[in-house]
């Protein structure tokens, strides 16, 4: 029942391929041999109910969690035993559901912080090439200003990032990914909790990025908006990732029909207490993820 035998017909190259990724927490299977592939230069949306494993999938791709079984290929190369920092260096960027920005720094400083391979990152460079750091700093400041324009934040350049609205903070974290020169952007619910105008603005930015050759994967509950701007849609249910297309939808519905006929089970009466462990395991909070990776928030 491997739906992903059917490959995308477009000629674009596969940038990310997930093969049989399984992840379970204390025996609770969240991702069960999930497979999917994402084409370069597309926007793909991941739908699914809460706790179906979408965010876990993103955690695994971006290296914040290890998969139990399975492989992920990025540009045909396997991502094995990678750390979050290592994956960021490969060009896979990640926006968290609650935007993770440095709230006490200005917007400009946030953008500069994310800048990739700044010589000022390493202590040794201050002794070896102090002047190059200065030059790079000036150059990157210009790039940061351009990026701020791209994400419509150039008026707030010197304001502290904590003072921005929630939607602007999301834009800022997208901008930080751009400064980090990510080619594959994983956006976790970019439209959640922002107003209609901001949704428009964020999707504008996303389309602009797509035109510039970036690949975007996003988790979204707002299906209407996400469908308009995305090229491919995936559904994550029961730990599987299912690509939406006409044939596949039939497949899924056939399976569901089979389910109901052959394996009809007595209705399960669940108490609230029983549901709770699933939710708390799947929706790991950011600080749990931080603790797994040896940092504290």
């Amino acid at each position: 029942m491997d739906f992903l035998e059917i490959t995308d017909l477009s000629e674009m190259e596969t940038i990310l391929e997930i093969k049989g990724v399984t992840k379970s927490f204390d025996g609770l299977v969240v991702l069960d041999k999930a497979c999917c592939s994402v084409q370069e230069g597309t926007i793909s949306a991941f739908f699914g109910e809460n706790g179906s494993g979408k965010t876990t999938l993103f955690h695994i791709i971006s290296g914040f969690m290890k998969a139990d079984v399975g492989e992920i290929f990025y540009k045909q190369l396997p991502l094995a035993h990678s750390t979050p920092a290592g994956i960021a260096h490969l060009g896979i960027g990640r926006v968290w559901q609650n935007p993770r920005i440095c709230k006490n720094l200005s917007v400009l400083d946030n953008l500069m912080l994310a800048s990739r391979n700044h010589p000022g990152e390493f202590l040794l460079n201050y002794f070896l090439h102090p002047f190059r750091i200065d030059q790079e700093e000036k150059m990157r400041r210009k790039i940061a200003e351009e990026t701020a324009e791209q994400i419509a934040l150039s008026e707030y350049l010197l304001d502290s990032a904590g003072a921005l609205s929630f939607g602007q903070q999301k834009l800022l974290s997208i901008g930080m990914l751009l400064m980090n020169e990510a080619t594959l952007l994983l956006l976790d619910e970019p439209f959640a909790g922002v107003n209609a105008k901001m949704i428009e603005r964020i999707s504008e930015v996303m389309i602009k990025l797509k035109v510039n050759g970036k690949t975007i994967m996003m988790i979204e509950h707002n299906r209407a908006t996400a469908k308009i701007i995305s090229d491919t849609q995936f559904f994550v249910t029961k730990g599987k990732v299912i690509e939406e297309s006409i044939t596949k939808v039939h497949e899924v519905s056939r399976i569901r029909a089979n389910d109901t006929i052959e394996e009809r089970q007595p209705p399960i009466v669940m108490r609230a207490g029983q549901l709770k462990p699933r939710a708390s395991h799947v929706n790991l909070f950011d600080h749990d993820i931080a603790a797994i990776n040896g940092v504290f928030l």
């Binding site: 971006s62 914040f64 979050p84 920092a85 290592g86 994956i87 960021a88 260096h89 960027g93 990640r94 968290w96 993770r100 920005i101 440095c102 709230k103 006490n104 720094l105 400083d109 500069m112 912080l113 994310a114 990739r116 700044h118 000022g120 990152e121 202590l123 201050y126 750091i133 700093e137 974290s173 930080m176 990914l177 980090n180 950011d286 993820i289 931080a290 990776n293 040896g294 940092v295 504290f296 928030l297």
Partner: protein
Amino acid sequence: MNYLLHIFVMLEIYIILGLAMNLLAGYSGLLSLAQAAFYGTGAYITAMLLVNFGYSFPATFSIVVLVSLLACIPIIVFAIRFRDLFFILATLAWQVIVYSVLYNWVSVTNGPYGISGIPKPVVFGYSFESLHQFALFAGLVCLSVLFFFYALNRSPLVRYLQGVRDDQLAMLTFGKSPSYYKAIAIGISSAISAIAGVLYATYFSFIDPSSFSINESILIISIVLIGGLGTIRGSVAGAFFYVLLPELLKLFNVPDSSASNIRMMVYAFILILMVIYRPYGFFGNYRFE
């Protein structure tokens, strides 16, 4: 005049200690209780090299800076994965270890009796013997430390330290390792505190472990909390406040027997007032939540 110069020297020592603390607590968000351990390490190494081994002052100074960079490795190794409360506990452990070593390793540190007869600094044949000269010397050291922090404040490096303070997950997401920057902050802070230790040892020409106890660490923390976290001005203001307040209290003719107790009460009271009404300190741009 000598009295003023004494205050001036103390001010310079505490400005340096405050800046070192501010780098950890204000810029990197790591509240450390081991500052007095760094400070004491510097002072004791200075004393031993100058008194027991007869090294020259410039050599001592550079060895102290190098050794203090090495001496903070235990903290880097054991405390780097923590922050907030756990980091405080880990640094507290280091503070207690260093203090007990200074107190109990009598054959090397002379234990509670301390080391006396530490000579005044002699740099390239010029001796800073008198109080004037020492105040000038300490002032030069303090100015260069201030300049160092000014340069650090303008360099890109400080942004990464502030990133560690604000959001470590973001740092990881953008491929920067928070531990690397924490190690840098701890190393610089240790070295700068040790420089204050050099000044302290050569100024008083006598040191004993009681000057480097946990109380000193707490005092250094209160300097930066009162002055303000995350700015150079903050540490300087905090040091002024700490050094000048007891002198102001002397105007009120408090009997000597109760003076130190009253001083601590006044500090505590002011600290409480500051926390309630000015959580950012005098000049801070960051506060602990």
